[in-house]
Amino acid sequence: SSEPETAAGGGGKHTIGVANFMLSGPYFSGMDKAIAAQAQKKGNIDILSTDAGGDAAKLASNVEDLLSKNVDAIIISGGPLESAPAVLNSIKAAGKPVVLVDRKFATGEYTSWIGPDNEAIGRQNGEFLAEKLPDGGKVGIIKGGPADNSIGLARTNGVKSVLSTKPGITLVEAPDFGNWGSDGGLTVMESLLATNADLKAVFCENDAMCLGAQRAIADAGKSEQIIIAGVDGQAEALQAILDGTNYLVTGLNDADIIGAMGLDRAVDILSGAQVEKDTVVPSPRVTKENAAQFQNPDGSF
């Protein structure tokens, strides 16, 4: 039924479905908004956005709902979801293109992927910390935990791959997870400080946890002693970096950019263009020097 409409619309009135695995994280809701904003900018594109609330089966249902509404293409923001073969299969069976943003699924066929290289972000942070700690010292690592394993793992592995080769640097992994939130980052940091008062730096798998960890460090009066490195480029983190606090670095993982690119990619595919299969969005290292240029008052993340 959408065929005649498309024809009448005179070239390119499309409906694109967005299947979010979860929206309850600023990064993910930012992604959703960026896609919608880019569609608005392009005009002629309707967006149907769904949220699976972190439930893989619901994601499958949502995609099925979208297909039943006959969307022209689907963008999947898979967040912490490792893969969803059945979802990809059903999209393929319906003959629709699918663009993955941020999360590249480990298995299954997709049309195109746009996202960051998480291990590279980790390495980048590792190198930065190594520079800042020429005399070595203890570096704490706060992991996000179950909900996002391979992404977090990639980031931590990146950091470790660099730091473990540096003499004098010891790595201390917090036993408990920070669950990707600032409150979790805070408590895990508190516990870490109780057992390792002599930390020189801490790396968290995302900025939200770093922000919590920063408070714990401040409360312990160790802001002079411990430096902080995160990932994402969350607005508050950029501000903290710009303000010259002990939050020194993050690796930009910009939902706004990835989201916009994802939408563009879907539109390109629909207009029949030949597109790159995988696109790694560079994640520049953000420090005090360049933080201002990444601040985006209109950005959603």
Partner: protein
């Protein structure tokens, strides 16, 4: 407590609890009618198939939950069991034939359910806390088994979750069969009647020579089995088993029972009405999606609709 029972007796017709009241059926029909008239998409075959698929997990968990709720208990651990059974089955696929791996996944659910049951029945611990603790423990075990999701290569792993029997998914048929057989179990077998009676008055049941611990254990085991089955089907449907899946699944299952008029104090509830509750929940979700309601507003509305539905249910019961 006794006072309340006297004032609001459940309707009972021909020895069966009738909680699927006319108003409840009307409510479901009204939801369907609204959906059909306001959305072009609702009645399309694709969407109807979606509906059928979407009710599988909640449906299976809700039936198991109903059995436990009838005894006056609750099973909070089902979401974690879904995760464990799924990831175990997916993990075992590497070394075992797929049906066997899936069976072992299901049996893991049975085992967890039995442990919950024994703790509640033999040690007399509060069901809420026992299953709250096992929720935590089983979730941890799922991650201990595999921190990362497992996606078996063999496409036959997807069959259970995605095969269709004509227009109806096989998984949905399995769920419906559980409700059908389960309904007969609850109303027409000695064990089913005993489970229902325990929720009404365990001491009376004990003095009637019926083993209360055994039936309590059975009830939790059934819930564990349903959760195990749901976990295996879910992993197969998604094609990948994640240790993190199933958080808060218990809440929808409980909501389905209560929307269907089951009493959390035990003794009152039916398989049919619980299935109605599942339908209501799935319809709400489907409609909110079809209307394109924004995710967070969906949550806001979902809560409000649940309150509205149980208000209707209650008004109806008090009058009845």
């Amino acid at each position: 407590m006794t006072g309340q029972l006297l004032r609001k007796p459940a309707l009972v017709v021909r020895g069966r609890d009738v909680t699927v009241t006319a108003a409840f059926v009307a409510l479901i029909l009204a939801l369907v009618a609204v959906a059909a008239f306001t959305s072009d998409t609702f009645l399309t075959p694709v969407n109807l198939t979606n509906l059928l698929k979407q009710m599988v997990t909640t449906g299976l968990l809700a039936f198991g939950m109903l059995v436990v709720i009838l005894t006056g208990g609750i099973d909070l651990s089902v979401g974690s069991v879904v995760a464990f059974s799924g990831i175990l089955a997916a993990g075992l696929v590497a070394g075992l034939p797929i049906p066997v791996a899936m069976l072992v996944g299901l049996l893991a659910g049975v085992a967890f359910g039995a442990v919950n049951g024994v703790l509640v029945a033999r040690f007399g611990l509060a069901p809420f806390v026992v299953t709250l603790a096992s929720l935590t423990t089983i979730r941890g075990l799922a991650f201990v088994y595999s921190e990362v999701p497992i996606a078996p290569d063999d496409p036959a792993f997807f069959t259970l979750g995605s095969a269709m029997a004509g227009p109806v998914p096989v998984a949905t048929l399995i769920m419906l069969a559980v409700f059908a057989v389960g309904g007969v179990f609850l109303t027409r077998t000695p064990a089913g009647r005993a489970i229902t009676a325990i929720g009404g008055n365990a001491e009376t049941v004990r003095l009637a020579g019926i083993s209360v611990p055994r039936h309590l254990t059975l009830a939790y085991t059934i819930s564990g089995a349903c959760a195990g089955l749901a976990g295996v089907i879910l992993a197969s449907r998604v094609g990948i088993a994640q240790p993190s899946v199933g958080v808060a699944f218990e809440l929808d299952a409980i909501a389905a029972c209560v929307i269907g008029g089951a009493s959390l104090a035990g003794g009152r509830g039916s398989a049919r009405a619980t299935f109605g509750g599942v339908l209501v929940l799935v319809l709400i979700n489907n409609l909110l999606n079809l209307y394109g309601v924004q995710s967070f507003w969906q949550q806001v509305l979902k809560g409000l609709i649940i309150i509205a539905v149980i208000l209707v249910q209650r008004t109806n019961r008090v009058r009845g």
